[in-house]
């Protein structure tokens, strides 16, 4: 029986990734270490000196570790849905070539989502290992925190792809990163509690997928219960993944099968 063709797209992406995997694995290890040292230990020593009770009851390093895990997953997801996608449909048109085969638009998009979330998974697992290496949480707990990170990353692949397939030039993507991705990275509760934000801004932070992932990951790592019930946040992230996935199909089809 024929294997679902989206797995063939997954396989193709893996073949393409093989070309650059060394550099990619290296930076997947280096990034979390840099963040942990600079923010967790560097800034953390100042924070902890001023807040004897810790941030939300834990040392700053412990507070931000799950946050940066999810923030990195978020950023990885957004990146996977951006230039590579636009290249495939606009520049080298390799996505177009795939549609001359039995693969359809939906299979193409699903394969892309699967591969991209595998990339997020990979990056997050490495991050979790580093977290436990810094003795912030046991390995098992850190690995458990990978689950919300992957949900957030996949939600961002989905949303970013839905944005990218509507672009006619490269001009929109830098703006998207500047005004959506970077603010989300900074203000969704990874580096400080969203309650520190002005009241009117808080709903925006809570609406981001990243906020929900940060809350879940932090709850797992510091053994607290999240501000919002875990199943509500999970459901919210799934809505992002599926909703934006569906929103991407139409423009992609229009683009590749005019």
């Amino acid at each position: 029986m024929a294997t679902p063709l989206s797995l063939r797209v997954f396989e193709a992406e893996a073949r393409i990734y093989r070309r650059t995997w060394r550099g990619s694995v290296f930076s997947s290890f280096l990034n979390p270490i840099l963040y942990m040292v600079a923010m967790g230990l560097g800034i953390g020593s100042l924070v902890d000196a001023n807040m004897p009770g810790g941030v939300d009851g834990v040392p700053y390093l412990t507070f931000i570790a799950p946050g940066i895990l999810v923030a990195t997953a978020m950023q990885t997801g957004a990146t996977e849905g951006a230039w590579k996608v636009l290249g495939g449909i606009l520049f080298d048109k390799t996505w177009e070539s795939r549609l001359a085969s039995p693969i359809g638009t939906r299979g193409l998009l699903l394969g892309h989502l699967l591969w991209s979330s595998a990339r997020v998974l990979f990056v997050s697992v490495i991050f979790a290992v580093i977290i436990s290496a810094f003795r912030i949480a046991p390995l098992l707990e850190s690995l458990l925190a990978v689950a919300p990170a992957v949900l957030v990353g996949t939600a961002m692949v989905s949303a970013t792809t839905a944005f990218t397939v509507r672009q006619d030039t490269y001009a929109g993507l830098p703006l998207y990163f500047r005004f959506i991705v970077i603010p989300m990275f900074l203000f969704s509760g990874a580096f400080f509690p969203v309650t520190q934000l002005p009241g009117w801004l808080q709903p925006f932070a809570v609406a981001t997928p990243m906020y929900h992932g940060v809350e879940l990951a932090r709850a797992i790592v510091v053994d607290q219960s999240p501000a919002i019930a875990w199943w509500v946040s999970t459901l919210y992230l799934l809505v992002w993944i599926i909703g934006f996935g569906i929103l991407g199909v139409g423009p992609l089809r229009k683009r590749l099968k005019p």
């Binding site: 193709a12 001359a100 039995p102």
Partner: protein
Amino acid sequence: MQDLIKATGLTKMFGDFTAVDGIDFSVSQGETFGFLGPNGAGKTSTMRMIGATSPVSGGELTVLGLDPQADGPRLRSRLGVVPQENNLDDELSVYDNLMMYGRYFDMPRADIKAKISELLEFVQLTDKKDAKVQTLSGGMKRRAVIARGLVNTPDVFILDEPTTGLDPQARHILWDRLYRLKQQGVTLIITTHYMDEAEQLCDRLVVMDDGKIVAEGSPSGLIDEYAPGEVVELRFPVGVLETLNGQIEQLAPRTEILADRALLYTRDAEHTIASLTAQGLEPETVLARRSTLEDVFLRLTGRTLVE
């Protein structure tokens, strides 16, 4: 003979714009069928509809007995496509590109591997198997795309402007390979705006202009019908052609005055050249040749046509 492809009133609209305007044609097994026409004639849109990568706006189309709308994936699994642009992954090797593509057809890796060796042999790229695509010349890339299109052993091979942008030598290598495919009985569909390409390869062709089919036949049949006999091509120094009002037209039953030259359609080129001298005309160059599809096209589309 059974029709592999049959179109009736086939139409493609983009909003208000009609790219393909109700065309009829059929292609039978083993035939090499051409769509000849200038850029924007609707050739690529037609090809994409046949290849089930663009929805049909109107009319009927069956390819290999299947409806491209309803049976897209099943149909595409039996087609080979060479698109106008080489959409290979530039940073992967030729082998990886072909392997990746074969996997889209759900073929087992071992089968694809064997097929790749065979195809690279066929397109004369065996020694470039592990070379990155971006290091290949234009002609080699084109041959790699042709090999990619043949990975799934298609029943119909669709080529959209296979040699556009290639140098003459590269074109001849490609024509030779396509001719061999034809000899093997593969049904080829080709679009081109090169008249010589259509003459070299096509058993039968349609001439398209502005979304419509303006003529259909074999290359020689079309020439006999629309541009019989011989052609005398005259070139004059810049500015002279405009001063000869009426003189050229008297030299042959049908003439075409183009921007840079005059074409005289005649039964007997020698006789026409003789009368040229008798008239006291002194063109810079005089060339007698047989009519080609280019002359057919000029006649049919009426561009710069002077009766």
